[in-house]
């Protein structure tokens, strides 16, 4: 059995990678993918604790999280698609129309 710490470390590493991707990358698709990594990091946490504690509700929550992540990816891609159609780019530092 894999010790909990390893799992948590992996999860933390994934989270950091995702976070880095969100904060540092300019491409909207990459940011979307980083968000997926971030979500999976937290889902991994759910699963790890669930197997550690023997409580299955964590796994249920993980499934719910995946579903939400899929939906979120679909919405995010649709948003970016329409941004691309109107602005011709999905470079996030060029997408500034949320400004005043």
């Amino acid at each position: 059995m894999i010790p909990l710490q390893y799992e948590l470390l992996l999860s933390a590493a994934l989270f950091c990678i995702g976070l880095y991707g969100i904060l540092a990358r300019r491409n909207g698709i990459i940011v979307l993918m980083s968000i997926e990594i971030l979500l999976n990091a937290s889902i991994l946490n759910f699963v790890a604790f669930s197997s550690y504690s023997g409580n299955p509700s964590g796994q249920v929550f993980a499934l719910l999280g995946i579903a939400v992540a899929a939906a979120e990816a679909a919405v995010g891609l649709a948003v970016f698609l329409s941004i691309y159609q109107t602005h011709g780019t999905i470079e996030l530092d060029k997408v500034r129309f949320l400004k005043w």
């Binding site: 976070l19 904060l23 996030l92 129309f97 949320l98 005043w100």
Partner: protein, 694 residues
């Protein structure tokens, strides 16, 4: 008690109503409402006679009639006696005056119907004379000083309007203005007297004041009658306020008769007679105001000679009569003053008082009213015929105007004081009383001398007037004719009264009983008087005859040429002085031109330079303060407001920079915030865990 005493109100209200009706719609009536005015006046006369007869029947002759007050309208209510009201006093004097005034007004109004027939503005004339009659009737029937003053001023207004009736003539307009301004001097004094009386007694009613006069301090007891006399001097044209009356002749002759003969100038005498409650306080132990009495008698005595001397040289028929009026009024004041002095002396000695002077003065007032109205109306009749006032262009008119010349002769005889015409009785009595007063104060001997010289001058100028007008050859260019019957009828009635009014004293058991002051007194003229008085009466008659004789020899037979008096240097100077009216009018005019106008100029300068300067300085100062305030407002107040808003804008601009619209920068903030939050929550435990805390 008089039955139906309320009718006395109608005496006043009838002419007042006529004034309103004629004043508003008089032009629609025949003769400009003249008949209406005459009718109203006739009503007043009838009612006055009713009241007068009632007073006499109820013991008025013996003084048994208790004065009655018919209350009317209370103007300012207060405790009884202190209220200000309009009420009518009926006593011997006022009932007699009511009859006298309404009778003379009626005759003059009737005469006016013919005299004013061809004039423009008849409605205005009749309205004004009717209001004038109201004023005069109100004056003589007032029961308090304020009411008296009000009606007195109504008269003053009407005299102004009537003297200026021909207002398009500059002389008439000037004369009206002069009359108004000169009498105003006296009216102000009268007003001051009324205010003092109110202040002292808290009442203006004669009957309330009279018993309290003894409580007054001596200075005020002297001052009040002097101020009242000041009013009388203005109204009755006594020296030094006499100048308005000769100029007042610019009005229609009927107005001259109304103002001078019948009524207005007599108001001053009436007022002085009413102020006897101050002059002769009948309360024991009160020192009468001898100074005030001497001033009244002195001014009266001086004026009588002063005015008569000017009448001697005047050539204007009406002006001669005007000066004569001033002179005769002087007699009345002399009589009142001398009578008051005798009474006051007797009262202070505790003797029985004799009201001889009081009744003599009012007797003269009564007689003079008739003969002077007659003289003025006759003069009017003459002027009507020859269209001039100048006696040098008359002469010989007795042929063309027999009635006028005869009635005027009656008037002149009465004025001169020839027995049995009315002037003889009253003038003789006044002179006798003045002579008697000389025993108490020697100054009255001097005043008697003035009086007797005046009697001579009066007879002289009266007959100078008559001879120049009616004797000799006609010197003018008109075609004189006798006046119509409606004019001569009042003249004949008045001529009758010049005979009757003097003799009326006999059936009345002495005129003193008719006016009654102090106590009943039966004294028939020329009956039962001391032998010295016969001498005095004889002297008065003698100088009058002498005066007529002199006038006869100068102006009728021309045995003494008139030029003889003006050829010598002294005579020429005297003549010049008299024709220039002692230069008093000139002095007054100069006073007006130089002092009053100079004062006005000075005040104008003061106004422009000092007052306006102060006002402008204040304005400039205000502007300077406003500028400063404006700067403060702009810099400080607006500055603060702008600074706040500007800083808000600047801050918001800076904050706006933080909102980049870049989602990733927001995410950075969130992450950093989370990390900070995390360390705040768990930092301590982490430090303990990994560094091994205490």
């Amino acid at each position: 008690m008089i039955a139906n005493a309320w009718v006395v109100w109608l005496i006043l209200l009838l002419p007042l109503g006529a004034f309103l009706v004629v004043g508003l719609i008089g032009r629609r009536f025949r003769e400009g409402g003249g008949y209406l005015v005459v009718g109203a006046m006739a009503g007043s006369l009838v009612l006055s006679l009713y009241v007068f007869v009632q007073v006499l029947l109820q013991g008025g002759l013996g003084g048994g009639f208790t004065p009655e007050i018919v209350t009317g309208y209370v103007w300012l209510p207060s405790i009884p006696g202190a209220e200000i009201r309009i009420a009518i006093l009926i006593d011997n004097l006022s009932s007699l005056m009511l009859v006298l005034v309404s009778f003379l007004c009626l005759l003059i109004f009737i005469y006016s119907l013919a005299y004013m027939h061809e004039e423009e503005g008849k409605a205005r004339y009749y309205a004004e004379v009717s209001l004038f009659a109201t004023g005069m009737l109100g004056t003589v029937s007032a029961d308090n000083f304020l009411q008296l003053l009000i009606f007195w001023e109504i008269m003053g207004l009407c005299s102004y309007l009537l003297i200026g009736f021909w207002y398009h003539k500059p002389e008439a307009a000037a004369a009206a203005k002069k009359a108004f301004l000169v009498t105003r001097v006296g009216d102000v004094l009268f007003l001051v007297a009324v205010l003092i009386i109110w202040n002292e007694f808290h009442s203006l009613r004669f009957d309330v004041i009279a018993p309290q006069v003894g409580l007054l301090n001596p200075q005020l007891l002297t001052l009040i009658p002097l101020l009242l006399f000041g009013g009388a001097v203005g109204k009755s044209a006594q020296f030094p306020l006499h100048t308005w009356l000769p100029d007042a002749m610019e009005g229609p002759t009927t107005v001259s008769a109304l103002i001078h003969a019948a009524t207005m100038v007599k108001a001053g005498v009436y007022l002085t007679a009413r102020s006897f409650i101050f002059l002769v306080p009948l309360a024991p132990g009160v020192e009468p105001p001898f100074t005030a009495i001497l001033v009244i008698a002195g001014i009266g005595g001086f004026t009588t000679l002063f005015a008569a001397s000017m009448a001697v040289v005047n050539n204007d028929i009406k002006r001669v009569l005007a000066f004569s009026t001033i002179s005769q009024l002087g007699y009345m004041f002399l009589g009142l003053g001398a009578g008051a002095y005798v009474m006051a002396t007797q009262a202070s000695r505790g003797e029985e008082v004799s009201s001889a002077g009081y009744s003599a003065a009012l007797y003269h007032l009564f007689n003079h009213a008739f003969f002077k109205a007659l003289l003025f109306l006759s003069a009017g009749s003459v002027i009507h015929a020859v269209n001039t006032n100048d006696m040098r262009e008359m002469g010989g008119l007795s042929k063309a105007m027999p009635t006028t010349s005869k009635v005027m002769l009656f008037g002149s005889l009465a004025l001169a004081g020839i027995v049995p015409f009315s002037g003889f009785f009253s003038k003789g009595e006044i002179l006798s009383v003045t002579f008697d007063a000389g025993a108490d104060h020697p100054g009255f001997y001097l005043l008697y001398a003035f009086g007797i010289v005046t009697a001579f001058l009066t007879a002289f100028y009266a007959f100078r007037l008559w001879f120049m007008t009616f004797h000799g050859e006609y010197r003018g260019h008109e075609h004189p004719h006798e006046s119509p019957r409606v004019m001569t009828a009042p003249l004949m009635i008045l001529a009758g009264f010049t005979l009757v009014s003097g003799l009326l004293a006999y059936p009345m058991q002495g005129f003193g009983n008719l006016v009654f002051f102090g106590r009943p007194e039966a004294a028939f003229p020329l009956v039962g008087i001391p032998w010295s008085h016969y001498l005095l009466e004889g002297a008065a008659l003698g100088v009058a005859v002498l005066g007529i004789a002199l006038a006869w020899s100068i102006y009728a037979t021309k045995r003494i040429p008139a030029e003889r008096f003006t050829t010598t240097r002294g005579g020429a100077f005297l003549h010049r002085m008299l024709t220039r009216r002692y230069w008093i009018d000139d002095v007054y005019d100069a006073f007006g031109r130089n002092v009053v106008v100079g004062l006005a100029r000075g005040l104008d300068w003061f106004d422009r330079n000092v007052i306006d300067g102060i006002v402008n300085a204040v304005g400039r100062g205000g502007m300077r303060v406003a500028v400063q305030s404006d700067v403060f407002d702009r810099r400080v107040i607006d500055g603060a407001v702008n600074a706040v808003s500007l800083e808000t804008i600047r801050t918001s601009w800076r904050l706006r920079q933080r909102q980049t619209g870049q989602v990733q920068s927001y995410a950075w903030v969130i992450v950093v915030g989370l990390v900070v939050l995390f360390f705040l929550m768990f930092g301590q435990r982490l430090v303990e865990r990994f560094l091994g805390g205490p």
